[in-house]
Subunit: 589 residues, 2 copies
């Protein structure tokens, strides 16, 4: 008997179910009702909802609520610093049974090999990790990544878990109809294409939508979200470790538009995942804000399922996957039990499945850091310099200006004004390129922090109060073959190794979290007041998020979508040749 024939026999009542959940209250997101009803499971599938099923095993839920497994509409698993099997251990026990991931962090390091690793490493988990083909590797021409993926590369990702094209971050290219962008869109015609258009409105938004993306998760204000909804984009409300947009966007959640809104975490570091949770945490926030729990749950289940065409999940209904979350209360929404594919996989927040073996990781990531060019000096000049202002809990930055402090004919950090040096050291090609700038909002009083997590190029990013500490921190992460480090002077104070692509560790997620706590504690001891200064730093390199960012090619004005000079009165950055070591250091002239 085929699986489907068995399922139908159970549904009809001609064959006992494998498992029956009785005395539960089913949250029916299809109709926004709560039904007192049994749920009968056959293998991995829901066979029936309703009374009168026989079963080999019965579980009395004692009036608890049964939710569909939660779906994270957009996540970069790499940001958990854990590999997919360990990421699953963090999120599944809290109720997330499906994620739609964009592996563009590892793709920027290892290309298709990185994406294939993520697919292999997420095989056979109680978490379904769908993959969107990373559309922007590299993110732009304004930074150097370890790989470049063209339309043909992306189209070659023929795998049942690859759903479509991931966030199209090159929004200026899409709006302008750049041939390489149109080529990628054409390769995914008829499939889902995620968008990324921070702050894009008006005619530019019309053009972006017309080019093909169907969603956006970069809204920071309700007005922006409303305009995007009106023009046809689905909006994913995001609450990442360093991009907290959920509460700000709530006013955009209206009866007329809520069908086209989903939830995503985008980037959450492990302590957040373990302490607060993921999508479940967002649901608790929504319910805490007075949103009807059944409607809130729809945003995290049926809506993303419909957006991505995942007709086999997103609701507690016959023929859908037995991905279920049992919660004692709709006011609290804490998973007491989680079923994935019909099996109980977590109870009381604890994973019940054994750790599977890891597949072989991609080769050791490149750390081609050249000692001879590891130089953060900036000759002094008159005039104001561009300054990146890190915005708390946001990945957008502000472009500011300041007259830098100087000493011995060089620009130096000024901790009194919280003006620190920031640098991006190219690590993929051995070019020796270093992009230099100033940043405010990180708050280090001394020493430096560095990491190979530097969206999306994942070069080595470093912020420091002095050049020696910066050099020590960079050398420390290079020696780790990837990771995070804190240094003061010549001394490395703490570090976390991330040998998988320089992004992830194969260690248990709790161990990663403990090491991360160490390095964060160490950075805080150097004066940074931030929740996670490493994550804040990592997004200062992302040249597709306004306003001012930094790559190995120097500062980038994201709204103009072009490199700019360190000094404010120089509009353009000096021409950089990727091939010539002579002009490789993108420090100011």
């Amino acid at each position: 008997m085929s699986d489907l024939a068995t399922l139908l026999a159970v549904a009809r009542g001609d064959r006992p179910a494998d498992l029956r959940l009785t005395n539960g209250r089913v949250v029916n997101v299809l109709t926004e009702e709560v039904e007192e009803s049994d749920v009968a499971l056959s293998g991995a599938w829901i066979a029936g909802v309703g009374p009168g099923y026989d079963a080999r095993e019965t579980l009395d839920l004692g009036g608890q609520f049964v939710l569909p497994g939660l779906i994270d509409a957009h996540v970069h698993i790499e940001s958990s610093l854990a590999t997919p099997p360990e990421f699953a251990r963090a999120v599944v026990p809290r109720g997330t049974t499906t994620v739609v991931s964009d592996p563009h962090e590892i793709a920027n390091v290892h290309g298709l090999e990185g994406i294939r690793y993520m697919l292999a490493a997420s095989e056979g988990l109680p978490l379904t990790a769908f993959v969107m083909a990373s559309s922007c590797v590299p993110a732009t021409h304004m930074g150097t990544a370890g790989a470049a993926l063209g339309a043909g590369d992306l189209a070659s990702l023929d795998h049942p878990r690859v759903l479509g094209l991931a966030e199209l971050m090159n929004f200026p290219g899409a709006i302008q109809g750049a041939p390489e962008v149109l080529e990628k869109l054409a390769a995914f015609r008829g499939r889902v294409v995620d968008g990324h258009a921070p702050g894009v409105t008006g005619k530019a938004l019309n053009a972006y939508v017309a080019s093909g993306p169907r969603s956006d998760h970069e809204c920071t204000s309700p007005g922006e979200a409303e305009e995007k909804l009106r023009r046809g984009l689905w909006v994913f409300f995001r609450e990442a470790t360093n991009a907290r947009n959920l509460l700000a966007l709530l006013p955009a959640l209206s009866p007329g538009s809520r069908r086209r809104i989903a939830l995503c975490t985008d980037d959450r570091q492990p302590a957040d995942l373990l302490d607060k949770g993921g999508i479940d945490d967002m649901l608790r926030t929504l319910v805490g804000e007075g949103i009807d729990p059944v409607q809130a749950i729809g945003l995290a289940t049926l809506n993303p399922a419909e957006y991505f065409g995942l007709h086999d999940r997103g609701a507690v209904a016959p023929g859908r996957r037995g991905d279920l979350v049992v919660v004692p209360s709709l006011d609290e929404l804490r998973a007491a039990m989680v079923f994935s594919g019909g099996k109980l996989v977590a109870e009381g927040g604890e994973a019940l499945w054994p750790r599977p073996p890891h597949p072989p990781p991609p080769p050791t990531p490149s750390m081609a850091v050249r000692e001879d060019t590891l130089d953060f000096s900036i000759p002094k000049r008159r005039g104001q310099a561009r300054v990146i202002r890190a915005v708390p809990d946001q990945i957008v930055t502000r472009a500011e200006a300041a007259t830098p402090a100087t000493a011995d004919d060089e620009v130096v950090a000024d901790t009194e004004r919280d003006l620190l040096k920031i640098a991006v050291v190219e690590r993929h090609t051995g070019s020796g390129r270093v992009g230099l700038g100033l940043v405010t909002g990180i708050g280090l009083q001394r020493g430096a922090i560095a990491g190979t997590v530097a969206h999306d190029h994942h070069n080595i990013i470093v912020i420091g109060a002095d050049d020696t500490s910066m050099r020590s921190a960079v050398q420390a992460v290079a020696e780790l073959r990837g990771g995070l480090a804190v240094a003061r002077g010549d001394q490395v104070l703490a570090s976390l190794a991330l040998p998988v692509g320089g992004l992830m560790s194969e260690a248990p997620v709790e161990a990663i979290r403990a090491s991360l706590d160490d390095v964060v504690r160490s950075a805080r001891a150097l004066g940074s007041p931030l929740h996670d200064p490493f994550m804040a730093m990592s997004f200062l390199g992302l040249e597709v998020i306004p306003e001012l960012k930094i790559t190995d090619l120097g500062l980038v004005d994201v709204e103009a979508f072009e490199p700019v000079d360190f000094w404010l009165d120089e509009r353009r950055a000096p021409a950089a040749s990727r091939d010539s070591a002579d002009v490789a250091r993108n420090s100011p002239a």
Copy 2:
């Protein structure tokens, strides 16, 4: 410049639009708002919604409302008795710019050739006619059709307008997991599958849903619709000429479920289409019942677009088709102008496009009626006979019982009790089979009506007060090579030729309508009070709609899903062999 590049240039404002609609109020179904906004069109597409666009041509709408083109979620175009180009002339001027059609009428006559004819005949129209591959040809094993389509045949329909698998009417087969049904479902895995499950509830509904269909348009009560919505089916509210379910289903339209409800006409005859309209008529009914017009319009635009994955339409938004309906008032919803693919194609209810040439129709349909077996006699017996009760404005029937009138040792019609003879004469294979029964609810006082429109096998169906009139009527439609006829005694009183498959005429839809008026008038003169007795008759042959129906194999108890005898005390019909002329006549023994 590619079409997309041009579209983006217009959207950005870098190139003038082809057409700009100003001073309009855009019904935004994406957010359920009305926006005062311009709409800029580039070629067939909407480039931008918002102010500030230049254009080669500007149309001032003077405050009228702009709706997305209406979408009929499920229609058998053949029921209009017109071919697709003429069907378009009926529906497009009233605002329907997209239909999702199931060509299973012509498929039951001409197989794949019939479907390909419908695709060819709908090419290049201002109406987009999508096609669902007809899943049930023949509808069941309990009737004889002109063709049989297996999973392989259906999968061979590789055409950009073929979306998925059409209404899976063999619901007992789906529920039971019949291999031929599962094979068809497997052939369309991952694509949309429409359902058809009249009155199916409880465990049977769980099994039906689990088998794969995603929608149902056969609900007749709000409770039935609510249960189907809860179990995951989309529900299409239907208002056909002879299946008026819209008002009855309104209580099922709730804020929590309305996102999963669409509208369909299923089967409307030409007078209804021309006098009342199609989906536009349903919208007027909804608004008349107090439903918010913007929400109602969503049921006929965005919802079916989302259900079918038609991301290029369903809303007035950038990158979607320039299929627009301009109405002076949301209370009235009558199309003043209709745009299709960016072109004005109708104004004031009048089509503005020229009649295109018809493609060659399939070969003349078979009318293999054998004179020697054209015999409607039923030997008399004691006891009660099964009687089909036609239900006004519904395609469901009731199974009743009556002691038939007799004369000269034969059962005869009894017009005083409105008990008429009904017969289905097999026309496809020359078998000479005739199925016989009694019907009440048609109301003829004399004479007979016959037609080759007899869902879904489209044999010749005939209802009469005497055998001679029945024979005349049958012979008349056979001589027409398909059509409808009214006869009294030897005299044919009126007829309408339907030479395309015995289902459609290539004549202008207004001419078809005039001829239909003639035959209906003639049938009414014989005593039938029905709005359209031919359409009522045509569904009495549809053995997938409860309760009692008739095919060339005799009466069918649809709930038992098996043939039954004319006499009530005989549970089973006599075994019929399709190969043996000896038992070919399925009249009672």
